[in-house]
């Protein structure tokens, strides 16, 4: 049994194994997995995230597990002892707990409270490790490798938790990363430093939206709610939209990724472009989360 809390806890061989096993899961998506039958996964969502919740439930069910879903939308009671009690009660029912909670570090704390393995499905602004694994898997699936690829991370890199974890993972796997963010929304210097120091990551930064030379363009939205001036936010968003004309400058085989849901940073007419890869990327969620459940429930 093992928890999956943060991408920082995972060594490269572990991630490689997870990606390998996700590949097997994808190949055998419709075969039954007897060893998981009779196991129960509890999904505890203390903040709504329909997509992630559905993806985890599907993954558990594809493995033959039963799912006990718990959704909690009343934020006033998401605190104090009630959280600990809820966790302990559900821990008594289930074989694995999948938790999403707005407090940073909540998943690690839950893992201390629970006897059964805990999988982090997003802890506020901190981590969302299965998203990072899905991103790596999707890149590897499309391009056959990660090492040496030119990957551009584009958008509000200051606030996107997915981008911070992905930067570390890409560094670990030897991709060349270009961080493209509007002024003031740059990636945290501490994370850039961390990726450079731990993995010798090659990272360059730019304020100019430009797809030339990229093998992978990974776009995230400008978080308008973080701006005091909505006009300024809209202006930034407009200057960072992936318009069809812009895609003409991209390499033929560049893939365009997005963690979804996308708002207006990628207009719908781009969906038909051969570069658009985000729906395939989202579909990777189920096999990757199946692999994660298998990892969490493994013997010994």
């Amino acid at each position: 049994m093992a928890d999956l809390i943060s991408i920082r806890d995972l060594e490269k061989p572990t991630i490689e194994k997870l990606l390998e096993s996700a590949q097997k899961m994808e190949k055998n998506l419709f075969t039954s997995h007897e060893k998981f039958q009779g196991k129960v996964a509890a999904t505890l969502f203390f903040e709504p995230s329909t997509r992630t919740h559905l993806s985890f439930q599907t993954a558990a069910q594809r493995l033959g597990m039963s799912v006990v879903p718990y959704t909690h939308s009343n934020s006033s009671s998401v605190k104090g002892e009630s959280l600990q009690d809820t966790l302990k009660i559900v821990d008594g029912y289930a074989d694995a707990l999948i938790i999403r909670h707005p407090a940073e570090g909540s998943a690690r704390w839950a893992a201390e409270v629970c006897k059964h393995p805990v999988i982090n499905a997003g802890d506020g602004g901190n981590q969302h490790p299965t998203q990072t694994l899905i991103d790596l898997y999707a890149i590897q699936k499309a391009r056959g490798k990660i090492k040496g690829l030119n990957v551009s991370l584009i958008g509000d890199l200051a606030h996107a938790r997915a981008m911070r974890s992905l930067l570390l993972a890409l560094g670990m796997f030897g991709a060349k990363v270009k961080l493209i963010a509007p002024k003031g929304l740059e990636m945290s210097e501490a994370v850039v430093e961390e990726a450079r120091e731990k993995f010798g990551a090659q990272i360059e930064t730019s304020e100019q939206l430009d797809l030339a030379g990229a093998d992978v363009a990974y776009v995230c939205r400008i978080q308008k709610e973080r701006f005091s001036d909505p006009y300024q936010a809209a202006k930034l968003q407009a200057s960072f939209r992936i318009m069809p004309e812009l895609l003409k400058s991209a390499k033929d085989d560049m893939i365009l990724m997005h963690p979804l849901p996308k708002i207006d940073e990628i207009p719908p007419e781009v969906d038909a472009s051969p570069h658009a890869y985000y729906f395939q990327q989202a579909a990777c969620g189920v096999p990757v989360r199946m692999a994660v459940l298998e990892y969490a429930l493994r013997e010994g």
Binding site: S6, R8, K79, G80, L83, Q84, H101, P102, A103, E104, G105, S106, R108, W109, D123, G124, G125, N126, Q127, A190
Partner: protein, 170 residues
Amino acid sequence: MPLMVERIEQGTVIDRVEAFAGIHVLEILKLVPPASLPAHEESKSDKAAKARSSTLKIDREHRIALVINVPSRHMGRKDILKIEGREIKPVEANKIALISPRARLNVIRGGKVVQKSDVKLPAKLEDIAACPNPSCISRLEREASIFTTEKGRLRCLYCERLFSTYELVV
């Protein structure tokens, strides 16, 4: 002329404190109220001051000398603290190491130094300080967080954010 400070009979001399960090050492030891509060409250009313001190557990019983920014062979400049009638617990020593990693504790008994020890920042700091991040689960569920040192900075085990040593204390 060197500054003259009277000797103490019983207590602790904290030497090699980083210059200007001495006042924060006193805050850590709860010998003065934190800088965010007025240190001298007697002017309002003794009662209010005492009440405030007791909720913050400020200890106003000791005579203290704080020498700031004096020359040091080791460090260029340093602060020195002399605290009468008070010895330093290991947890406090770890906390002092956060802002003064070179500090040396001299235990004084009967006017003599009976024990010398250097503070040390452990690789893992447990239950010493609260996480400065208001969104961190440790703020809801624990009194203090756990930090690991990373190149002189500290990463919270829970929210995984990095903090300077000063952020944890002040």
